[in-house]
């Protein structure tokens, strides 16, 4: 049994201090109990540690995080994985708006649904390629301004993966995979859509297997389904907007 922190009546600064102290002391497994909306859990945290969180995490879970794994048994408020650099967040529940906002590396798995602007401005650099896998559905503006990385939305909760507009609007890097159908009018400016083909499906298979592993789903059934791939029409969406004085 790892190190335990009871978050009841702790504010986020104190909670993070306890986490930092534990990580500095070399703890590899930390359980945080009775979390009730504390924001910024593991904000800017470095190192190799697995933090299991019980309760509802407040905004910006794992923001600027670089390395740790956070396993959340509960829902997350907005922007888990905001500007995250490396590590993993696994959410056994749903998450709010701007999940994985500006994320540069690492992985986020959300068992259920996410809010608006999921994966907005995700980017990639060098060997870093962030991954966001959502089991349920996403609201509007999924992958807006996306500059890199990978988003997969599975639509496993009875409603289509995405049924709102602005998917990939302003996308200029990375790719989005959606299980099932996507009506073309939901695509944002600058995005193109095609059925995913074999090589592409191979690329997302490990992510889907990992998702299935985290949440006890059957990966083979998921992999047998049809996917739509949404990608940038151009890596220079604004190149033709301007002239010089």
């Amino acid at each position: 049994m790892g190190y335990r922190i009871d978050a009841q009546d702790l504010d986020y600064t104190r909670l993070n201090q306890l986490l930092r102290t534990a990580v500095a002391a070399g703890e590899k497994e930390i359980e945080v109990e009775h979390v009730l909306g504390q924001r910024f859990i593991a904000d800017g945290l470095k190192g190799e540690v697995t933090i299991t969180i019980h309760g509802v995490a407040g905004g910006d879970l794992g923001m600027f995080m670089s390395g740790p794994t956070c396993i959340l048994h509960g829902n997350a408020e907005h922007a888990p994985g905001n500007t995250m650099d490396a590590g993993m967040i696994v959410i056994h529940g749903s998450a709010g708006d701007a999940v994985a906002h500006s994320m540069r590396g690492g992985k986020i798995f959300v068992r259920d649904d996410i809010g608006y602007r999921g994966g907005i401005h995700m980017k990639e650099y060098d060997s870093k390629r962030p991954i966001l896998v959502v089991g349920g559905s996403s609201r509007a503006f999924l992958g807006e301004y996306m500059a890199g990385g990978l988003i997969v939305v599975l639509g496993l909760r009875g409603t289509p993966a995405v049924s709102e507009r602005g998917i990939g609007s302003g996308i200029h890097g990375g790719e989005i995979y959606i299980r099932g159908e996507v009506p073309p009018h939901l695509l944002g400016v600058g995005a193109t859509m095609n059925p995913a083909v074999d090589g592409e499906l191979e690329r997302i298979a490990p992510c889907i297997r990992e998702y299935a592993g985290h949440f006890g789903k059957d990966a083979d059934t998921l992999l047998a389904d049809e996917y739509i791939r949404i990608a940038p029409a151009s890596s220079r969406p604004f190149a033709n907007k301007y002239t010089w004085e």
């Binding site: 910006d60 500006s102 890097g173």
Partner: protein, 504 residues
């Protein structure tokens, strides 16, 4: 070429053939290709000229002459040359016009319509040579009250927990100009100068190049909407963190660094692939309200364990004062207000010249609002955008600013001639370029000396101005509007500035 035909050249370059010794320094120095040498003769293509003055500065014989508007249109007070040429441009392209440098529209400059005070007879002036002048400035929150405890020996212990402040030896800082917008040698020059003078400098949204690490305790790292170059290491290196919401040169819109400017090194500091566009969205997409801003401020403080001041920069717009009051309540330590004369590498011209308000009015209204609400101590006020000389610094502080940022003025100290072609990436002075041969023209050793000289000279002038006014500490100048008078300013603006007219 279209049916519109060519517009007249903006400049005409001529060479005094008697003076010219065909050394070809002009040919070597002009990256725009104005000069060409052919069969022992110097050929000139004036149409390519940007008036950067590199050739003139490098000509050993003063043989080059430059004339602006050699051929002009029929003059007309409304249909100016600029208006006409913008229409030709857009009729050809159908696009948004981009332009470099700051606001070039002919608005009156409020700084130039204000005068400073000096002592005569009563309240004698102070000689800064003889008396100490206190220019040291602390940026960050100040407690509204101090709690102290005296022990039995009479020793005083401070019970109030102080928040981290930045200590500046002069109230002049160097503005955020990213690596990418300017060259590494330009950044290095300015960073060294900031360190030497004991002030700070902004990184812009371009990350922190490892060559700047030795000066990191003098760097204010920026977090803008693209989050380029931002990771925990970057945040920890900076002396302070600045959230950029807006910029005076282009309030309300984001920015795009075109892919062709994203070379190996820039890709590395911004943490994006080589050749990819770096797009900073107009808003931060995790900030849609003042409550969200508070969350970003606190997330940055939390990530850096509350050890660093966090600034929030906004463009000066109509309701800056109310926004600043919100920022003051967000746990931020300073609000930076960037006036509509602020410079930029590239901005849509229509924004550069028409959106935002002058810094003078913004400082006064922000300072007044914070005082009215009793929260002036919660944030420092940093003014930027169009600070051109030490008198502007003194006037900005007298209007209520704690410190200023200078951008264009610092670049001019490195040799910039304000030609406004920064966006072309061919800056002949090695400032706004990444081309190696051009970057090498700027020696960081020399550059830092020039920038430090400028900061030093302005600081000397500031202390002389203060001494003449009988003021020996910058705190006594701050918000001291009684030492300012408006000269031919209208009543409305004088009310906003809270200054009297000359003679009153």
């Amino acid at each position: 070429m279209s049916g519109i035909g060519a517009t007249p050249p903006r400049f005409r370059v001529t060479v005094d053939r008697e003076q010219c010794m065909l050394c070809e320094r002009c040919v070597e120095n002009c990256p725009y290709g104005v000069f060409r040498s052919q069969d022992g003769r110097l050929l000139i293509d004036s149409r390519r000229c940007t008036a950067c003055h590199r050739c003139i500065a490098m000509c050993p014989r003063d043989a080059i002459d430059l004339q602006e508007r050699p051929v002009d249109y029929r003059s007309h007070p409304i249909w100016t040359r600029e208006i006409r040429e913008d229409i030709y441009n857009q009729a050809r392209t159908g696009k948004i016009i981009l332009a470099g440098m700051g606001n070039a529209a002919d608005f009156p400059i409020i700084f130039d319509r204000m005068v400073l005070d000096a002592c005569q007879v009563t309240n004698p002036s102070i000689d800064p040579l003889r008396e100490p002048m206190e220019l040291r400035t602390y940026l960050g929150k100040k407690p509204s009250r101090l709690e102290i405890r005296k022990d039995e020996r009479g020793e005083v212990e401070l019970l109030t927990k102080l928040t981290p402040n930045l200590q500046l030896e002069t109230p002049i800082m160097i503005a955020h100009m990213s690596y990418g917008a300017i060259s590494l040698n330009a950044q290095l020059s300015l960073a060294r100068a900031a360190k030497e003078v004991g002030t700070f400098m902004g990184t812009g949204e371009g990350g922190l190049h490892h060559a700047i690490y030795p000066y990191q305790d003098r760097m204010i790292v920026q977090v803008a909407s693209g989050r380029f170059g931002v990771d925990i290491d970057y945040l920890e290196r900076g002396a302070a963190i600045e959230i950029k919401i807006g910029q005076g040169a282009k309030p309300g819109i984001g920015g795009h660094l075109p892919g062709e400017k994203v070379c190996e090194d820039i890709s590395c500091t911004r943490m994006i692939p080589v050749g990819s566009d770096a797009i900073s969205p107009a808003p931060h997409h995790d900030i849609y309200s003042i409550e969200d801003l508070k969350q970003l401020v606190r997330s940055l403080k939390e990530a850096t364990e509350w050890k660093k001041p966090v600034f929030v920069k906004i463009a000066a717009v109509h309701n800056s004062a109310a926004i600043a009051a919100g920022i003051a309540r967000s746990s931020a330590d300073a609000v930076v207000v960037d006036g509509f004369r602020g410079g930029t590498g590239a901005a849509p011209k229509v924004f550069r010249d028409h959106v935002g308000i002058p810094i003078e009015a913004a400082i006064a209204s922000v300072d007044a609002k914070l005082r009215q609400q009793g929260i002036r101590n919660e944030v420092s006020l940093i003014a930027s955008g169009g600070i051109r000389e030490s008198a502007d610094v003194a006037k900005a502080i007298a209007l209520g600013a704690d410190a200023v940022y200078i951008g264009t003025a610092a670049l001019v100290a490195l040799g910039c001639r304000v030609c406004g072609n920064c966006y072309r990436g061919l800056c002949p002075w090695g400032i706004a370029t990444q081309r190696e041969d051009l970057v090498n023209r700027l020696d960081p050793e020399e550059g830092s000396r020039q920038a430090a000289n400028l900061l030093h000279a302005w600081t000397l002038e500031l202390s002389e101005l203060m001494g003449a006014a009988g003021i020996n500490s910058i705190e006594s100048l701050r918000g001291n509007r009684d030492r300012l008078r408006g000269y031919l300013l209208d009543e409305g603006i004088m009310k906003v500035l809270d200054v009297k007219t000359v003679g009153a």
